[in-house]
Symmetry: none
Subunit: 424 residues, 2 copies
């Protein structure tokens, strides 16, 4: 069974935008044994779009379109599919009602143009959108061929939710029987090439196994995916390879349950009834934001101090002005004093501090761009504080900040493990 | 003049890979006034590739292929183009010699299979590769139509060098004389559909003008791009349309210089020598992170308090425990007290506070998921604090948080404008 993916929208043909939705869709189609044979990006042009839809349906069993379902004049996907299939469109009362309801909740008037979003192809099933206005559609082209056109909204959060809830079950029902199992290792603290060099001998040249490594700001995900005749065989294969890879990677593996690092840390703190506070300057709130991205984090996270000025480091965290003067704000000593001060001020069990220079410019007295000091203060008497120096030689403010946050979480997690805190 | 781009290779259809070469190519084609009307990714399948090449050449003036020029069996681009055009391939002596020379320099024996890389289409111009083995090719399809097929290697460093050296001059020679100008409006505080309804009458059906709207978590970018015979004409057209659209959108336009909202705010604060502090709970550091994403923000940003617990709201910001008890942490009263307390604690001129419920669950006493209160405290005696209630009916923690941050920045910016602070 084959599929083609079409991303719709002139903005997707500009020099600054890539169709990342297709990666998510491809991963899930592959997991059902459906092969993606082509991907296309087509602008907001009705003629080109109709042609592209007809061609894709001639070539593949499944056509998945993303984008072009908004309310505006240049949202053409609905009309183009109707034209390509030669079928009518009808206003769906339930969808229209839901859209009106949405605007009422927001206490805003519904612009007349939003009505377009309630138009559905004759014979289509409506795919509910729980993250936005535009509903999706699932339309069997004709009973004989069994070919299917699926229309999904462009915004990734809307597409992913809709695809997972509404499309996966429908696709599973028409996909050929095959058993797939995936094992995931979440890894940090080593580079992507170090990781690959370590595990390539384990996964290379294994039949029925596809291995992918995703790297994002120091966070690595290794996915071993087996597609076999039986589920038992698929599980046996992935688990064997994952176990060997995990052994080779050792302490760099932070989760075998596909959980983000901040969730692993949260589980450890919650299970031990321990609390955490953070004090950050260079990352400017990014560390606190990542920790609080976890629902339920208020159970263990007391709060954070974004001490962006020296004054606030002194006033709020009690970092001595003389220390800042002597060693500078970006120093081992300041990181240590920040962690200690934050832990004391918030009466928390654990504290993380980050101070650094994310760039782009270095003022005379500061450490070079990319320098970061991370402090971790833990319970115990006397208080035990470790400070780690890191240097990322990339002249990219956003990446230095993201790496620093990842590294701080990694260092805390290792300390929690050393301290005997288990992940639920 | 139009172009289509085809990336060749089954690896480009996996869940972990994106065709980024097309962004580089698009940027340069656009700069010559050549519009990219479609992009495709096709696997290593001769039949599909031949079809894709024929279709692209039927639809566009220029077809640029990347990848599939290597020496191995699954490198099919050369053969597929020859088949699609119905022309012969010849071994090019000079290319073969250069490939042999390359291997000799590396003191390696040339594998026989590398001979395939010296095969060129009859009538093609050879594009030298100074970063790798595979030469590119430039082939005019026929003199009458003037259509062109270009074959480039897949590895980005090889492609970029070859494109810049060999293709740009050839493309410039055939591109129509044209000038391009873009005007951008940055907008917030209204929905995408409201925005489009407001400005569609201004931009629709204007010759030589392409308008795109990008929406991201409440932040909207409108780009008017004109392509005209002269630069003066392109500037006149975009500026006229942008001025009319800006007038229609009024105070919702926060930048006409394509600057992010946090940069606009930073410019206002810096120019007025004013300082800012933030106190946030639901957004957990996201507001501070966005503000400090701007290089140089330490000139006006004192810091932030991530008061994730009631205790920290009381201890650090002085929010009375009785007030939290009576009205709840997610309330107008708490937002007001947080803004007032943060401004006082940090001795800042301005303070923003955010308190809300980002979900996913509502514990009994709290406000419904999606509820956010935003406080802005400004200078003056008595201190002037405005609190705004917002409700986003999306059950998505990340989006509620992102919307809340955007809204808080919008509210601060409007207060700064009302207070007479100019953006540099």
């Amino acid at each position: 069974m084959t599929a083609e993916i079409v991303a719709v929208g002139s903005e997707m043909l500009t020099a600054g935008r890539l169709d990342t939705n297709s990666l998510f869709i491809t991963e899930h189609l592959n997991s059902l044994g459906i092969e993606v044979t082509a991907k296309h990006v087509i602008g907001d042009d009705n003629g080109r779009l109709v042609t592209a839809i007809r061609r894709a349906l001639a070539d593949a069993d499944i056509l998945i379109l993303s984008g072009g379902l908004g309310p505006t004049e240049d949202d053409l996907t609905r009309d183009a599919v109707a034209e390509a299939l030669g079928c009518q469109m009808l206003a769906d009362a339930e969808t229209l009602h839901a859209i009106e309801q949405r605007f009422r909740t927001m206490k805003r008037e519904m612009p007349a143009i939003n009505r377009r979003q309630a138009m559905v192809l004759e014979g289509a099933e409506i795919l509910r959108n729980d993250k936005g206005t535009a509903p999706g559609q699932w339309r069997v082209v004709d009973e004989k061929s069994g070919k299917v056109v699926v229309m999904l909204p462009g915004p990734p959060s809307e597409l992913k939710s809709m695809f997972t809830r509404e499309c996966l079950p429908r696709l599973a029902a028409i996909a050929p029987p095959t058993a797939i199992h995936t094992a995931v290792l979440r890894v940090t603290g080593i580079s992507e090439s170090q990781l690959d060099q370590t595990i390539a001998p384990i996964y290379l040249n294994r039949a029925n196994l596809a291995t992918t490594v995703l790297a994002h700001d120091g966070d690595l995900q290794v996915r071993f995916r087996a597609q076999c005749a039986t589920l038992d065989a698929a599980i046996a294969l992935t688990e064997e390879v994952a176990a060997r890879a995990a052994e080779a990677l050792g302490e760099h593996v932070y989760s075998r349950l596909d959980e983000p690092l901040e969730v692993v840390i949260g589980n450890r703190l919650a299970a031990a009834n321990s609390t955490l506070v953070v004090a950050e300057s260079a990352t400017g709130g990014g560390l606190a934001q990542r920790i609080t991205g976890v629902a339920g984090s208020s159970a263990y996270f007391i709060g954070g101090y974004v001490t962006y000025s020296k004054k606030m480091k002194t006033d709020v965290l009690g970092v001595p002005a003389a220390l800042l003067e002597e060693f500078g704000a970006v120093s081992k000593e300041t990181a240590q004093a920040m962690a200690e001060g934050a832990r004391l001020a918030a009466r928390a069990d654990w504290a993380i501090s980050i101070t650094g220079n994310a760039g782009p410019s270095t003022d005379g007295s500061e450490a070079p761009v990319g320098t970061v000091y991370i402090g971790v203060a833990g319970p115990g008497n006397p208080i035990e504080i470790t400070v780690t120096h890191r240097m990322w030689p990339v002249n990219d403010r956003g990446r230095v900040r993201a790496f620093a946050v990842q590294s701080a979480l990694d260092l805390l997690n290792r300390r929690l493990i050393a301290h005997g805190l288990l992940s639920a």
